[in-house]
Symmetry: C2
Subunit: 304 residues, 2 copies
């Protein structure tokens, strides 16, 4: 599984970067290879100041070593080793009509001895969309593509992981979601219902759904012209994105606390951001409607 | 003490706002009074888009009620009531030559019954400076004024609270300080060495030192003209300020977790911020020298 998963994320990283560069038309990804002192390393690919993407990263990492204290205390084990492979991406378009997107797919193993038999393993991941100017069609498209990927494996997956996504990407202090959701799943183990191969097949399909879920939305909205006011609103909303990632996101905080590579972790932060005191959109405006939707997550896929 | 402290912070708030408006010359503070559902409230005063200050807040709050769960678990008490009064300010100048400044002075009481005898109390607070373009003279002036305020009460205060400030305002994940420090003190109780009145006298002097510690620095540097490159650097560094406040600052996280007034708490965030992937100042530049200093806190007051 280690090899299969690692091969898949590197291949997916290549294909996503190629597609994003094609869409962008101007900027190319810059690549940084890094090594983790405790074992393993990563391949960080970032794009900046493009025709479409103001900033983005499509990163993979394959790390292993002694279990960090944070995981040991969480799982109540005294020692042990881990192996983790994952792909993580965030794209921040310049145009406020094009939504920000995030996706992440990972495989985690624990063993009692380094390189010894695996005592526990799971898959995790998801994808979610953060629009600044919301088009219902975009939200429906994004969710529908993800739902189809889920449905191929189990009809219960989409409703469950959609709900978990709404619960996870929630700025409790603002009482609003970061965006309009998508999928979020974690601790997908093998058991009576699913084999390890079936779990991987699902995660792979979810990952493969990223490009078809996002690219058509970006392609469509990138042609909108925007005003300074719309850009201002985008920068204010990007502040909420930062707040979520730095205050609430378990992945970000875990990475920073376990001495992860800071620049690869914080590549998720938007390039230009604003915080105004008590900024409020005009009553009845499109911006206010977006906030109302973020305060009350909705179903985006119409029942067949 | 409640009345004395509350009267002092409101008076200091007025005087600071008046001085800041005079220096700014363009913008005026806007005032929001708010009430806390559990008891008490606050007076938030914010300034924006001024001649000197791009964004700033000088807030007071006087709140009371049942002890929040977070404090109960920290102090291992099952119930009880609190009374807290404080002044908190952050000023973000537009000009990258003028440093950002933060200060906070507070009084906290705990009692077993609402309005009953005080079972525990303490003072806390401090002030610290965050330059983007560092002038040693500014750092020395700021620290010297604070040291003089400390020395009037105890020769050990300045060294102790300066050290605590360096330890507290530290972005562990970046391995650098937020700024060039100042004072930080907490849990100043009465005991054999100091009476409650002596504690208050010290905190008051520290608070009164804010204007003379900061205003001359701002007055001097506000006349510098700046380049786009210097402004860019300031916005990058403001990102580190956001990282500290949202990831590490106990006051911010405590406020957000105990359902404090979000806009008053997050007024501390800078108005415009940038995150570039792996931004590095040029070798040998003034910017690189600043980072070196932030990685290794220094003594700013020359021994007499």
């Amino acid at each position: 599984m280690r090899e299969q998963f690692t091969e898949w994320i590197h291949d997916l990283q290549n294909r996503i970067c190629t597609s994003i560069e094609e869409l962008d038309g101007v900027a190319r990804f810059r690549e940084d290879r890094w090594e983790r002192p405790g074992g393993g390393g990563g391949l960080t690919r970032v794009i900046a100041n493009g025709g479409v993407f103001e900033k983005g990263g499509v990163n993979t990492s394959v790390v292993h070593g002694e279990l960090p204290e944070l995981i040991r205390s969480r799982f109540k084990v005294e020692g042990g080793y881990f192996y983790a492979a994952g792909i993580s991406l965030v794209l921040h378009p310049e145009n406020p009509y094009v939504p920000t997107v995030h996706a992440n797919f990972r495989y985690f193993e624990i063993s009692d001895t380094e390189g010894g038999p695996v005592s526990d393993f799971w898959f995790g991941g998801g994808a979610d969309l953060t629009p600044y100017i919301l088009f219902d069609d975009d939200a429906r498209h994004f969710h529908t593509v993800l739902k189809k990927a889920c449905d191929r494996h189990h009809r219960g997956f989409y409703p469950e992981f959609k709900k978990e996504c709404d619960a996870y990407f929630y700025n409790t202090h603002r009482r609003e979601s970061r965006g309009i959701g998508g999928l979020f799943f974690d601790y997908l183990r093998a058991g009576e219902s699913f084999t390890k191969e079936e779990r991987f097949a699902f995660v792979r399909d979810a990952g493969e759904a990223f490009l078809p879920s996002y690219l058509p939305v970006a392609e469509c909205r990138m042609h909108h012209t925007w005003t300074d006011k719309e850009r201002y609103w985008q920068e204010i909303r990007r502040g909420r994105y930062v707040e979520f990632n730095l205050i609430h996101d378990r992945g970000t905080l875990f990475g920073l606390k376990t001495d992860g590579r800071v620049e690869s972790i914080l590549m998720s932060l938007p390039p230009r951001v604003r915080w105004d005191y008590d900024f409020r959109p005009e009553p009845g405006s499109r911006e206010e409607k977006l906030i109302n939707i973020l305060q009350q997550p909705r179903d985006w896929v119409l029942e067949e």
